[in-house]
Symmetry: C2
Subunit: 237 residues, 2 copies
DNA sequence: CCCATCAAGATTGCATACAATTTAGCCACG
DNA sequence: CGTGGCTAAATTGTATGCAATCTTGATGGG
């Protein structure tokens, strides 16, 4: 298990430690330090974060609600191993929700928010030009963060929560079924969306976003490959 | 606390008892045996279901992920008290998602499913004609179940989960801000949606559903009433 | 050599114990 | 009569213990 790498959030606060665990594990899953199928043993997670199994368990339960972790009774927690069908559902959901997010965000857009979005895109392109696995991870994270930032601007906490789940699950799906590395064209598409938003052209922004989602999904190899997946299901990890 | 009324699910099974608790409490919240603001003490919930606090706590945590329960650190769990703003977000989300649900369900519709939907509407109308609080609760439940049944037919487990959350939260919102009792016109509108679906007219079904959602929201009184809500926030039930 | 069986070890599900925090009641005081 | 503060009771946050279940690995038979 290789989560320890970056995980050392000393921000103690009297806050909920289960939340800290959830966030750290989610980050690890999203940027692929934890790969689908990995077993997440309660005592191991607890030891990593220096808490009891009780707290670790609560964090894992949270992740299972987001679909990032699969809880099997008497067997434990595993990083989710989404099927091709689940992958399709993730993207179908995004096609339904993200256009609405774009339109809502546009209504509430102002100079500050545009600046934030632009900064996010700069971050994206920075990592795009770097080499090495750390940069790759940061790139993946940044790419999803653009969508999340946009979602946070739609002024709807519920949709934002849904988007958080969908983006995280997308990352998992791409990790499993992605053909190329992350599409560098994704960055260009993000820029195009932002340009349309700045121009106040909601229709175009919405269409660009839809095409962007289509492109991401088109990059997946969702063949049935049942044999492989079945083996994974039994072997896990 | 008045949950005990109906709650006695002897279906033991070796299943997860936290799930049982979640479902029972959710039902109680949705059909208003538990009103917003009510404190849900861990030991009390545990005693009701004959489990330890550990399990009760897990059930409450699940409900908090669905937005039905608010968890306050060191203070406990309370039935959610959604603000008018949250209420608006619930319906904005539904307006975004349910049209997609309708269209997807239409694609996969067959005679069996139509029969199920029809039976659901019959259930609705039956309770509509009965008197008494029990019938009222059943009516509320049945009304939401129509939407959930439709969602289950869309063939997308993620959207279905989202809808479950949205419908439950809608019920909470209506309990708080509803002007009339449940709109009996809701039933007619459900019938109209089904008719359009049977006719294969997705556009019309989608528009009818949107209007239906608009009507539900229009029946709410989302004035600021800050005083009341503030008092509630401090007093809580 | 492969596979079934079974015991030992590991892990989970759950209850319980205890400290930390909050709430409630009470009394004194203004 | 209202108010502030203090103590006791109630409640939550978390760790830990034990039984039930699963996993692993060794052993023996086919």
């Amino acid at each position: 298990m290789n989560i320890k790498e970056d995980i050392s959030l000393p921000e103690s606060a009297t806050e909920d430690r289960a939340l800290t665990i959830r966030d750290a594990l989610r980050n690890a899953i999203v940027d692929r330090r934890l790969t689908p199928g990995t077993k997440l043993t309660e005592s191991e997670v607890g030891a990593l974060f220096d808490v009891s199994r009780t707290v670790a368990r609560a964090g894992l339960q949270m992740l299972s609600f987001e679909g990032l972790v699969r809880l099997e009774r008497n067997r434990g927690a595993f990083v989710s191993n989404p099927t091709p069908e689940e992958a399709r559902q993730v993207f179908a959901s995004r096609r339904l929700i993200e256009p609405g997010v774009v339109m809502s965000a546009l209504e509430r857009l102002d100079a500050d928010k545009i600046a934030l979005l632009r900064r996010q895109l700069e971050e994206e392109s920075r990592y795009l030009n770097e080499r090495g696995p750390t940069a790759r991870r940061a790139e993946i994270k940044a790419s999803g963060d653009f969508h999340l930032l946009l979602a946070s601007m739609a002024g709807n906490a519920i949709l934002e929560k849904f988007m958080e789940e969908l983006i995280a699950r997308s990352s998992l799906v791409i990790a499993l079924y992605g053909r190329s590395g992350i599409s560098s064209c994704g960055h260009n598409e993000h820029m195009a969306v932002l340009a349309a938003l700045e121009a106040g052209d909601g229709e175009r922004a919405r269409d660009l976003m839809l095409h962007h989602i289509d492109h991401i999904e088109a990059d997946l190899d969702l063949q049935v490959r049942d044999v492989t997946r079945l083996k994974d299901a039994l072997d896990l990890a």
